[in-house]
């Protein structure tokens, strides 16, 4: 039973929740990875709200934390280039394949670019995905510069008149400035061919408060336009993504809910809130 289902009996019918209820609510909110400052703020605001609906109060405050920016992919004429970035192991390569599947099902023509030339077997991993979902993967020679692979793939995507080019990049920890510079370079080089329409940061739902730092530093390096929140099929609730939305005004655009190509959906704020408070 969800937190509020458990508490609702106690909370409803009395004018305020008891101190004990509030402490249980605090524990639950913290365990969603919303972070101590957001939780403190939430509780203070919820206690001030009138009425007996603690769940409603908290949801309303949480809702106010969402970004107002569009959650749809930016649309436009010509080639749309999307770069997928993030720290190691968050699910970038899988998300590239999932997003391609999603766009393909909408009748768009899509190309993949394997710009992770660093990690062992990363290019093959993307290529295997490409074969599985029937989408062409562009890769460079072994040990090629990621920026040059991305550049070549952008040229090719323009030539063949593709609607979307999805660029997979190597995982990198945001505190390694040389690797962050490399990402900046990739972006600049690609933009010599065509503008980049989206840079999506992949955040693993199990990530704790470090997710905020990740989002800040990646934003500084490459102008992130939105988030993909992965691994929501586990027991993690991904609260840090809301903290990111609210502090950096970055919309979550998609969520990943499994290892298959179709375990991927556009972000639904209400479902996410329900999951946070489950």
């Amino acid at each position: 039973m969800g937190l509020f289902n458990r508490l609702v009996a106690k909370v409803r019918g009395t004018s305020t929740a008891s101190a004990l209820d509030w402490s249980e609510i605090e524990t639950e909110l913290l365990s969603s990875d919303l972070g101590p400052s957001l939780v403190t703020e939430l509780l203070a605001a919820a206690k001030k709200m009138r009425g007996d609906d603690a769940e409603g109060a908290i949801k309303e405050i949480l809702r106010s934390k969402f970004s107002d920016k569009s959650r749809a992919l930016s649309e436009g004429d010509g080639l749309q280039i999307i770069v997928i970035v993030g720290v190691n192991g968050t699910g970038k390569t899988t998300s590239v394949a999932k997003l391609a599947t999603h766009l393909d099902s909408q009748g768009k023509s899509v190309l993949l670019a394997a710009a992770d030339t660093f990690r062992a077997a990363a290019v093959d991993q993307l290529r295997t995905w490409g074969e599985r979902i029937g989408i062409e993967t562009i890769s460079g020679k072994e040990g090629a510069e990621p920026a040059s692979v991305a550049f070549d793939s952008a040229k090719r995507a323009l030539e063949v008149g593709a609607n979307f080019l999805l660029i997979d990049t190597a995982g990198r920890l945001h505190n390694k400035s040389a690797l962050m510079d490399e990402l900046g370079k990739l972006k600049r080089v690609v933009e010599k061919v065509a503008p980049i329409s989206e840079v999506l940061l992949v955040i693993d739902a199990t990530t704790g408060q470090n997710g905020l730092t990740q989002a800040k530093v990646f934003s500084e390096a490459v102008d992130i336009t939105g988030l993909i929140l992965t691994k929501l099929d586990g027991s993690a609730r991904g609260g840090v993504a809301l903290a990111i939305e609210s502090t950096l005004d970055l919309p979550i655009k998609f969520i990943g809910t499994g290892e298959g190509a179709t375990d991927f959906t556009p972000f639904d704020p209400e479902k996410y809130l329900a999951g946070l408070l489950a």
Partner: protein
């Protein structure tokens, strides 16, 4: 990692130290700070509460026994340090080797935790110690995981047992079982089984992990967990402990800046020691986990022990001995010696990483991030443009020589001047030190890693005392059956 936590602690204790006499109220306030810091570091709430309660009661107990005038703040600081070390493991445990080889190590963890890379690191680590490991490709799920293991296996020169192509094809249990037979017949002394990432909530995959376990009867099951994990660490660790079970924990991606509170939570709630730390994408970025070092790091005392050890490694053998002799005999420290040290320092790894281990690193985070690695290269190029005579005797450096050196190194004359000035100052300081003085503001054993100074006589770090205390939150959590 743990930077913000350590600066928080530094702040809390700075306030305590500033006072001559500490009252009960002070301790309470400090406890509140620690509570908040731990939460921000992703430590699970229940662990935070038992930890702070423990620290508070011990500190209060201590307060009444301390004489006025003794360093009360230091005593309380020690309490926090000790408690932290104890929860983090109290002392590193080594893996248990099988009585009859092969020793079997099985890796388990969430998707993306870093198991495959870690498998290769472990293989290399034990190969270097004389074992003859094989790696087993039992992740047949993630696209090209088998492939990846083959590549990393080859890079460390360890055979990879991979009879199945993966990508959904093959049975991981059969592969694991056959691997043991193979290793036994080929007399390999160790088997490291890489498995697919799985969620704690995935019953089906957890059963698969259990089946692999039962097929290979591992001597050690290691739970591999990303240091950036948040509060889910508790649920996931619990699910793995109740599912496949595990004997030890490996923390990965510790080279990031996550505060890594999960380490504390997992150790406290499962009672399993954190055994290894993975600190980068290179195979060599790997070490045994040292709870006492991590505790010091949390407390803003820096990771001096690791630094000293790396310094010792880099300044190994002859050059260190030579320098030490030179230092003791009273001979002058020359630019040639300096060059040798710079080269040794480059061997130790990035300067930013080294500086990050220094005490108080949390507070100077920005400077560390902005440290210009190319500075060392530039300095080296200037020294290398000097003639041997110039290196030995800086006094011969007149204007035209300086201009020539600058030209040779591709630097400005002012750069050459700056280096000469700095070096002359360092030389002078060395003389003072030799005559009995010591470096201000530097703990003993620290100057080993500083440019321009000879290494300190090697000093080993005493292992943490393994004391058992009934108040240990790890044990208490266990007793309470938080995780069975």
């Amino acid at each position: 990692m743990f930077d913000s936590l350590s600066s928080k602690f530094a702040g809390a204790f700075g306030a305590l130290r500033a006072r001559g006499k500490i009252s009960e109220k002070d301790i309470e306030l400090t406890t509140v700070e620690i509570h908040q810091a731990l939460l921000e570091a992703d430590v699970a709430l229940e662990v935070v509460e038992s930890f702070t309660a423990q620290v508070q009661s011990k500190s209060l107990e201590l307060l009444s026994t301390l004489q006025a005038g003794t360093n009360q703040a230091q005593a309380i600081f020690d309490v926090v340090n000790q408690e932290l070390t104890e929860i983090l493991g109290g002392g590193a445990r080594r893996i248990r080797f099988a009585k009859k080889p092969p020793t079997v190590i099985m890796l388990a963890g969430l998707q993306g935790a870093g198991k495959t890379t870690l498998a290769a690191k472990l293989a290399k680590f034990y190969k270097d110690q004389g074992e003859t490991p094989i790696l087993v490709a039992s992740d047949l799920q993630r696209p090209n995981a088998v492939n990846q293991l083959q590549v990393v296996g080859a890079s460390v020169g360890v055979p990879v047992f991979a009879p199945e192509p993966g990508n959904g094809v093959g049975n991981p249990v059969t592969v694991a079982r056959d691997a043991i037979a193979f290793a036994t017949s080929k007399l390999h002394s160790m088997v490291i089984v890489d498995t697919a990432g799985r969620l704690g909530v995935d019953q089906e995959l957890m059963s698969e992990a259990i089946a692999i376990r039962d097929a290979v009867s591992p001597d050690e099951i290691l739970f591999v967990v990303d240091a950036m994990i948040g509060q889910d660490a508790v649920r996931t660790a619990q699910a793995f402990q109740n599912g496949v079970g595990f004997d030890g924990v490996v923390l990965t991606k510790l080279d990031g800046d996550a505060r890594g509170g999960a380490a504390l939570s997992i150790a406290a709630l499962t009672g399993r020691p954190i055994m290894f730390a993975s600190t980068g994408e290179k195979i060599s970025d790997f070490d045994i986990f040292y709870p006492e070092r991590m505790a010091s790091r949390i407390l803003g005392m820096g990771d001096v022990a690791t630094l000293a050890e790396q310094a010792k490694k880099a300044f190994a053998g002859d050059s260190a001995k030579k320098l030490e002799d030179k230092f003791l005999s009273g001979e002058d420290f020359t630019l040639d010696d300096f060059l040798e040290q710079l080269e040794a320092m480059s061997k130790m790894g990035s300067m930013g990483k080294l500086l990050g281990m220094l005490p108080g690193a949390g507070a100077m985070k920005k400077q560390i991030e902005n440290f210009d690695e190319s500075e060392i290269t530039r300095t080296k190029s200037i020294v290398q443009s000097m003639t041997p005579k110039e290196r030995r005797d800086l006094k011969v450096l007149n204007g035209s020589r300086r201009a020539r050196i600058a030209l040779g190194a591709g630097r400005k004359v002012s750069d050459v001047n700056a280096l000469v000035d700095k070096f002359t100052a360092a030389q002078k300081m060395m003389k003072q030190m030799r005559n009995g003085g010591s470096m201000p503001g530097m703990p003993a054993g620290m100057h080993a890693g500083m440019p321009g100074l000879p290494p300190a006589p090697s000093k080993t770090v005493p292992p943490a005392k393994k004391k058992s205390k009934s108040g240990n939150p790890a044990k208490r959590a266990l007793e309470n059956g938080t995780i069975s």
